[in-house]
Subunit: 356 residues, 2 copies
């Protein structure tokens, strides 16, 4: 198993990305291909105390770097020798089994779509992070790749999320819920109303375990295993989870630091609180799969630590093993949903992108 790592992508690159790659190689029998500025990569490896390349580590040189503030689609086209472009070409050409990048989400999304391509029949790739809930966790799909969505996209997201939950999270017959502002059949905008019908049909045909509409709060309480929504809504959901967790943790810190008594209290619960923090820590899972691309691509958090990169690499290896893309291809006839797109011309961004 060979995992390609965009060594220059992310806020802490190349230090943490390289250290993460070395860590993953030392803990497994994967080969790691670090793509980026060779000299800088070697410098990090030397600083880590290695006099020669550690076992399982390869370096592929790329002279350019895509910065976060660059226009994602443009940067990817203009910088032909960027670490991301070289890494994606390598993945497409079979030089590795999966790719991990902590760089710009937009550049990764457009790059993966243009170079590695989507699975045939899949209309949009989607970001699908795994979110903790009171009873375990759930897959949130899409969480930011596609702001404007049609019901056809959403039914495909439902299948992709369901396959991921089944094959990676090992959940039998995953419960699929449609994120909505109420549980009643009549809730939501036209998008949710139309998608509900498609999901119900897929359930009746025995393809999906659709459990109906779910509210954001109930999703956090473990109401289902896959939460389906458009990328705009998914992003708001994800970011408000992050925001609320930050708010509570910062308040908790002030509570613990407020006096000598509470400081002692804090010491007594410190270890257990760390476990809680770990559960809510994006680094623990490491990355978000970009589902619908013909080969496994994992987006690691922009601020990933070495440990987070190592975790994302493990996740990439699991995804390559499970062959979600292959499963999507095999099930293309089901996954296709309805052929008519429900987006009106005004709201449609497919035309711009040359999709229809």
């Amino acid at each position: 198993m060979k995992i390609i790592v965009d060594a220059m992508g992310g806020d802490n690159a190349p230090e943490e990305t390289v250290k993460g790659g070395v860590l993953a190689a030392s803990q497994s029998d994967y080969d790691i291909i670090l793509v980026g500025k060779g000299e800088e990569i070697l410098r990090v490896i030397e600083k880590e105390g290695y006099k020669e390349l550690p076992r399982g580590i390869e370096i592929v040189n790329a002279t350019q770097v895509i910065e976060t503030e660059e226009d994602p689609a443009m940067a990817f086209r203009v910088k032909e020798d960027s670490s991301l472009t070289v890494a994606l070409n390598l993945l497409r050409d079979g030089g590795g089994d999966a790719l991990v990048s902590a760089g710009s989400t937009g550049a990764l999304l457009s790059g993966a779509t243009l170079v590695v391509k989507r699975v045939r029949g899949i209309r949009r790739a989607a970001l699908a992070p795994v979110i903790p809930s009171t009873t375990g966790s759930f897959v949130l799909i899409d969480c930011g790749a596609n702001s404007d969505c049609s019901p056809e996209y959403l039914i495909q997201f439902a299948y992709m999320g369901s396959f991921y939950a089944e094959d990676i999270l090992r959940i039998q017959s995953p419960r699929v819920g449609l994120l909505n502002n109420g549980t009643e059949r009549t809730k939501g905008t036209q998008l949710q109303l139309d998608t509900y019908g498609l999901l119900e049909k897929a359930k009746q045909e025995g393809h999906l375990n659709f459990v109906g509409n779910v509210e954001a709060k109930d999703a956090m309480m473990g109401a289902c295993d896959v939460v389906v929504c458009d990328g705009f809504t998914g992003n708001i959901f994800l970011k408000s989870i992050e925001g609320t967790a930050s708010l509570i943790m910062s308040q908790l810190k002030s509570v613990f630091l407020s006096g000598p008594k509470t400081k002692v209290g804090a010491l007594l619960v410190k270890k257990d609180l760390s476990a809680l923090k770990e559960k809510l820590n994006p680094d623990a899972i490491g990355g978000t799969p970009l589902l619908g691309i013909s080969k496994p691509v994992i987006k690691a958090h922009g601020s990933s630590s070495a440990q987070a990169i190592a975790n994302a690499i493990k996740q990439a290896a699991l995804a390559a093993d499970a062959d979600i893309s292959g499963k999507l291809s095999e099930n293309a006839h089901k996954v296709g949903g309805q052929s008519k797109c429900n987006l009106n011309q005004r709201n449609c961004d497919q035309k711009k992108r040359g999709c229809i």
Copy 2:
């Protein structure tokens, strides 16, 4: 000042609503009109130890109750002698200065719109709860009244939220942010793109302190005082805050109960943790104003305690004092936004409701 309370609305009615009304009357010089089944209301008052009606309490009889599971619009029309209908008629006819209900949101929304009417020129009433942030709090508007929105609705929400923040929360020149999936000008769906332009224009004309797009996480970190969004997105935002808070609090409880050491730790921080819980407690604020209605209407949480009802009554009195509706009327020429509605026919729910 007279505040009308729908004594039969809410999960804990009439016990908590009546006790809340009595509590508010005992703590202030407001007169409270409890609307509902007279005998049941009197029974609660007697159980509280009163032998006659407490000072400041009036009862107006209504023989019917709207249940949460009923179709809101239908129930409101069919049950002409429901506590909500009688309370709304009373408000319209000048029998009180503001209304509080913990009953069905949908019934309150359609009832208030049909009976008390919207401020002239306002296209939609919106729910605008006050949400805690790391630096204080912000108004979230709309958080569930209108799933499908046009840019015109959103610019009106921005004005309504801004007036509320200024007059009730006492924030000078409130910073208005547009909830989006990124801060860049080009982010979001067509709705956000079009609304951005209108908000920018209102800023240039000196009417609104628009600070640009805000992400959900940054809103929780205090990026602005008013967060503007459609009701679908607002509902997802609010419910995920609630869900995350529940998740963390339940995990925290397990941490504290996990062993004798942590139990001692819990005792030491108990008091300060309660203060934190209070900050995140919907009861502490009490209610969500329904802005855009010609008289003050406050939706209290369905599971409101007596204290929450009392707080909602205080909030209703503040709203009546501040006369937000009057301010909206005075500023109708600014608040009107653009006259053309951007919703296409398919997504438009106005036609059904006879709005255009």
